[in-house]
């Protein structure tokens, strides 16, 4: 994994911790399924996507947004867009 991707993952984790106020750093895992997060509902999903789009200056396709099932999915998507 290159330095840029490391930075993306670090930033992504920070945005997760900011969006999910009660999420503790040691409870965050890129492989943790969306359904295991305490409060990852439709509204939080859209808030998260919007935060990520504005932070990374990218935009997600609708099909990408609805298929996000874990933080890893987001990391891969962002890496792909930033490395393109």
């Amino acid at each position: 994994m290159n330095n840029m991707n490391n930075q993306i993952r670090e930033d992504l984790q920070k945005i997760f911790l900011k969006t999910f106020q009660n999420l503790k750093e040691n409870d965050f895992d890129f492989q943790k399924p969306r359904i295991d997060f305490e409060n990852w509902d439709s509204l939080t999903h859209m808030q998260l996507v919007s935060e990520l789009e504005s932070f990374f200056k990218i935009s997600f396709e609708m099909d990408e947004i609805v298929d996000i099932n874990k933080p890893e999915d987001l990391a891969v998507l962002i890496e792909k867009k930033k490395n393109a």
Partner: protein, 490 residues
């Protein structure tokens, strides 16, 4: 629907369908299918456990996400003659603690992913908690004597006060509402419903009542995130009925219009609520589904769905929120409680068997229910043809995609923050949500960090209550009595 509609208590919905269609699939969730007999067995297991742990009339809190177990538990608790306190999965810590302390449940049924929340709020220390996935299977449940007048469910809702109010539903209220809704929507055993709504809210739960009472099938979704899969499911399973809040319908028609059009081959109706829905959205839904009824209702947790109408059949009444259902009386009154004639705007009042009698230990709020009439706090008028029109909220409650938000609740959180001199919250028009929260702040100093307000609200409030817009101003306009003049801020 049975001809005589002989249901007396909520569990009768399930019991009747178990008798008539024991092997029919009543519930589908993530490729798992449950026959009516299986749903009943699961509910009985929970009832058997509840009977051992609590007494008749005790409150049992149900804090689960959308999953089959919320249905099993709900029917199990009610069959055992206990009261269900329905707690939405997206509740804030403060509100959760408030509802638990206010109702003092003898048992909390929840799931592993919420254990941190139970610990964090101190609830785990003080209350008896059971993980739904650890309730032992048991086929024996002797039954309990439950009457139609018994309290069945408590659901908290925001209102004029900063504190949420507990809506006290009795079995008979729910039976009456289910009858009214089923008569209008003509739900039958042939229907397949796709449910993406939260079952901790009146809209989603009400649909479960109707579907199970009719002996139909419900395909339950955990949430509405994967809308593409939801649309595919409607097509693949040939679903006949679908309900969504306007924000989701907006998302669907803006992003999956062509796919949604294909659903029209199967969908008998789509239903939605009265969150602000603009004409463009209505027209888009109608053009996607020209042969499907687009049913729009007006209601509130205290009075379920009180009006309905099929917009596609009454395009001349497109701005209306429908006509009173059979067995429902609606009137509009002035500030002295006097009935107003057609066309005159005043407070909307509702009466009927589906209307609650009181709020949970809240005599002040219960004063809004008198002689069976519920004062809704909504302002509107009725036209000469009996159609109801919504104009505004009397009490400034903000309607965020169907979720009622009290401005005072948000203001209370922000006012406690250091550096905040004054604050006011109002509803601002939002294309996706209907309304979103807009906050006006008067800070003590010019270097006040507005983002800290968002962070504080995220900590203390549900996500839909977090302000989407914040404006710093010099002074909050108030009346001589100190009341915020929200109409100026809007």
């Amino acid at each position: 629907m049975p001809n005589n509609y002989s249901f007396k208590i909520i569990p009768d919905f399930l019991n009747n369908s178990v008798r008539n269609f024991p092997d029919k699939i009543g519930l589908v969730f993530e490729e798992r299918e449950y026959s009516y007999k299986k749903i009943k067995e699961k509910a009985n297991s929970i009832a058997s456990y509840i009977v051992k742990k609590t007494k008749k009339g005790d409150i049992v809190a149900l804090f689960l996400e959308n999953r089959p177990e919320i249905i099993f538990s709900y029917f199990g608790i009610l069959s055992a003659g206990r009261i269900v306190l329905l707690i939405p999965a997206n509740i804030s810590d403060d509100n959760f603690l408030f509802q638990i302390k206010k109702t003092n449940p003898k048992l909390i049924i929840s799931q592993k992913k919420f254990e941190q929340k139970l610990k964090r709020t101190g609830i785990l220390k003080e209350y008896f908690y059971t993980d739904i996935d650890e309730i032992p299977q048991s086929s024996f449940f002797a039954g309990e004597d439950v009457s139609g007048n018994d309290v069945s469910t408590i659901i908290f809702t925001s209102g004029t006060m900063a504190e949420p109010k507990g809506v006290v539903l009795r079995h008979c209220n729910v039976i009456s509402a289910t009858k009214n809704i089923t008569e209008f929507l003509k739900w039958s055993k042939y229907d397949i419903d796709v449910n993406i709504l939260s079952l901790s809210h009146s809209f989603g739960l009400g649909n479960i009542h109707c579907v199970l009472a009719a002996g139909a099938t419900v395909i339950l979704f955990r949430d509405a995130i994967n809308i593409k899969k939801i649309i595919q499911t409607i097509i693949e399973k040939k679903a006949t009925t679908f309900a969504a809040v306007p924000a989701i319908l907006r998302f669907v028609v803006d992003n999956y219009f062509e796919e949604f059009k294909k659903c029209g081959e199967f969908l008998r109706f789509v239903q939605t609520d009265t969150s602000l829905m603009d004409k463009e959205l209505i027209e888009k839904v109608l053009s996607a589904l020209p042969n499907t009824d687009f049913n729009y209702y007006y209601g509130l947790t205290e009075a379920s769905r009180s009006t309905f109408f099929s917009i596609n059949k009454h395009l001349d009444k497109i701005n209306s929120i429908g006509k009173a259902l059979f067995n429902v009386e609606i009137k509009v009154v002035d500030e002295y409680g006097k009935d107003l004639p057609a066309g005159k705007a005043g407070e909307i009042c509702i009466k009927g068997g589906h209307v609650i009698k009181e709020y949970w230990r809240c005599p002040e709020a219960s004063k809004n229910i008198k002689d069976g009439w519920l004062k809704t706090g909504d302002v509107g008028f009725i036209d000469k043809d009996g159609y109801l029109y919504f104009k505004s909220r009397k009490d400034d409650v903000i309607n965020v995609s169907g979720e009622k938000v009290s401005p005072e609740e948000i203001e209370e959180v922000v006012r406690k923050m250091p550096g905040v001199k004054d604050v006011a919250a109002v509803g601002a028009k939002d294309r996706l949500l209907g309304e979103a929260v807009k906050l006006f702040i008067v800070p003590d100093a010019s270097d006040f960090d507005v983002q800290s307000v968002v962070q504080e609200c995220k900590k203390k409030l549900e996500s839909y209550k977090v302000p989407k817009l914040i404006e710093v101003i010099e002074k909050i306009p108030r009346t001589e009595n100190g009341k915020v003049r929200r109409n100026i801020l809007k």
